[in-house]
Amino acid sequence: MTTLLTVDGLKLRATGIGSLVVDDVSFSIGRGEFLAVVGESGSGKTMAARAILGLLPPAITRVDGRIRLDGEDLTQATPERLRQLRGPAIGMVFQEPMVSLNPALTIGLQMAEGLKLHRRLSPQEIRDRSIGMLQRVQIREPERCLAAFPHEFSGGMRQRIMLASVMLLRPSLLIADEPTTALDTLVQREVLDLMVELARQEGTAVMLITHNLGLVARYAQRAVVLQRGKLVESGPAQQILSAPTHPYTRQLVDALPRRDTAAKSDTAGAPVIAARSLEVTFGGRRRLFGKRPSVRAVDGVDLEVRAGETVAVVGGSGSGKTTLGRAMLRLIPASGGQVLFRGNDILAADRATVRAFRLGCQLVFQDPYSSLDPRMRVSQTVAEPLRHVPELSAADKEHRVEEVLEEVGLAGFGRRLPHELSGGQRQRVAIARAIVRRPVFVVADEPVSALDMTIQKQVLTLFRDLQRQRGFACLFISHDLAAVEEVADRVIVMQSGRIVEQGSRDDIFDRPQHAYTKALLAASPALDMPKPEPPVIAGKTYART
């Protein structure tokens, strides 16, 4: 296996803060190799990856180190040369798919433009390939998708579209920064298989940045572990996971979510919130010519969440989970049904009731970056909900903010602005904001997708503790079945806007009834899963397990 990329002694500094965000990191990837980069949230994974592309944000500068691709020193390359390499040589899927697609351009155009630039293809061929690739990532109606704009898709769909558009170019090095955070396990598996296939057929080297150790175990040949900007361990993936040497790695592996056997028993309280035949319909909106067909994103959902209970919503990407959560918080209009908050239908309530409802409820947005005011510092953002807690003094508030930041592992980050944070850090800011006021009901939309195992554990424990102390109700939307398994009391499985199955956690995980649930569970990668046979270098055929 020849080496494709070598990163040698890479040091990146954040100019404003003055600290090194990546400190003397070295690693290499061979052709056709599948390298996993794992590590603490905020440890510099994303920055290291962007350094390879030469696309660091302005506030981050490379102070030292070499990056060689195929023997060519990228740190010395001209901008023009770098540009030529981006796309066909190095493709990167960004961590935040929600903000990486241009809102003003159709999907088709955005997919086609890389191809048009780097490969000589007829428009028809481009279209065919785009459609083919979208099909591979399981986007339904790919033809229609080509003409649609990004905002018409769910988070997971956008992530898949991003992946498709990068993989379409078949780059020699594919950097995928948390590419599956918004994908359900079925799609996740499909997407990763696709990467493996690329690696096999084209000799693509894959650098997968992920928190999901199950994925690492299942797909990666080698892994490197980062902590606070430093590379703390590297070696064959299997070995690292089974016999970690560095304390942090050990910690990571130990933090893997486990089912909390001491599940809370009393879920008998009255429901805090309940949905009755809730329906949400999108579209049917006017266009210049005619109407577009409407999408029923939530279709007659009934559900209840009691105090102190965590109800997990799982389901395919695009199945309407986010929409359900938002509709229950009255953030988007429901087209039918009721939402009862402590017995009052808040869809038809007066202002005062709605306000009381608002003060009691919180949402952790699926896309934390967009939900943070770019001009507000972390501490300001987190302190904001406390405005409505008049009984707290200014000092109390400050104290409370610090406490919460500490709890989500962001102590000392109060002065940062959202763009100065890593993906996982932003997500934690969003969580901190949601819980700082001690709400009675929280919709947490993929709240731990960008968190490494240790932090994830910390956050989940926090949820638990809060629930124990305050008895708050939580609607926990997630693709991460492991996390669900750890926190949920009850689980709801959604497909195409409908609930296909619901039941207690143990029922769902141990005795799934619906075929879809079974498939979801089966596709979930776990540490102890058998690894697919090691991918082989280009030219050899790939046999599916």
Binding site: T15, G16, L363, F365, S371, D373, P385
Partner: protein, 270 residues
């Protein structure tokens, strides 16, 4: 650090203008109103550094004396237009519905009124003094600000962080002030600095169309308008106030840009 350079140049230019205005308050080479019919239209010389105008008044002294009034009028006008415009624009864009419709109906109506007519109308009420001009031009420019701000607000209010603010239970006004307004700064900054220039000039345009701003107290705009007949024979008359306006504007723009960059979270450390 290019940013420093901008700030420095901008700051220096504005500093010079303010200093000039301050100095002119106590001293100018000649009395800016002093007519000297024996020294009319004299080109720049060591006696009159910037020459004299058609009444033999010293151009340098008038430029100096005009600095204060010009900048003050422009500043007041822009402030008026921006404050009124931003408030109404944010309200219209954020609240939408009937408020928006009514505000925009009024706004569009006001937009149709030419500055001249407003100026004439205002002068009846306030009198032909600089506050009249401020009010008239302010009224003429505020509707543009309203439109631009409203447009920006319409897109900003859909951002998730505004939704998040509402989710927290923040009132609409608070969300508007705290989250929407600061994120509409860019177009407002551009508009207000450009407006600064327009005001300095529209004074001269009004004057050109035959409506004076309290002359003969010098302002740059007035001087520019008055110099027009002498464009070929006494070029210095127009060049001096023209350059003053240009450099003041440049200064304001540079300063405005660097201020904006400073307010901008992403540039704060760059």
């Amino acid at each position: 650090m290019k940013l420093r350079g901008n700030t420095l140049v901008g700051g220096t230019l504005i500093g010079i203008v303010l200093l000039t205005a301050a100095v002119a308050a106590v001293w100018t080479p000649y009395n800016p109103l002093q007519v000297n019919l024996r020294a009319r239209l004299k080109p720049p010389s060591d006696l009159y550094w910037l020459g004299t105008d058609e009444f033999g008044r010293d151009v340098l002294s008038r430029i100096m004396a005009g600095a204060g009034t010009s900048v003050l009028v422009a500043l007041l006008t822009v402030t008026f237009a921006v404050v009124v415009g931003v408030i109404l624009g944010v309200v219209a864009g954020y609240v939408r519905g009937w408020t928006d419709r009514i505000l925009m109906a009024i706004n569009d109506a006001l937009l149709a009124f030419p500055g001249i007519l407003l100026a004439l109308g205002v002068m009846v009420v306030v009198g032909a003094n600089k506050y009249g001009i401020v009010l008239a031009l302010g009224l003429a420019y505020a509707p543009s600000v309203v439109r631009v701000v409203r447009g920006t607000v319409l897109s900003v209010r859909e951002r998730e962080y505004v939704e998040a603010s509402r989710m927290i239970g923040n009132g609409e006004i608070y969300s508007m002030v705290r989250h929407v307004m600061p994120n509409c700064i860019a177009p407002i900054a551009v508009l207000s600095t450009s407006m600064f220039g327009w005001v300095l000039l529209s004074e001269s345009a009004l004057s050109f169309l035959g409506l004076g701003v309290p002359p003969p107290a010098p302002t740059w705009g007035n001087m520019l308008a008055a110099s027009r007949p002498y464009m070929e024979t006494a070029t210095w008359l127009g060049i001096a106030p023209g350059l003053c306006i240009a450099f003041t504007l440049l200064g304001i723009n540079l300063l405005g840009d660097s201020l904006r960059d400073r307010l901008d979270p992403r540039m704060a450390h760059a």
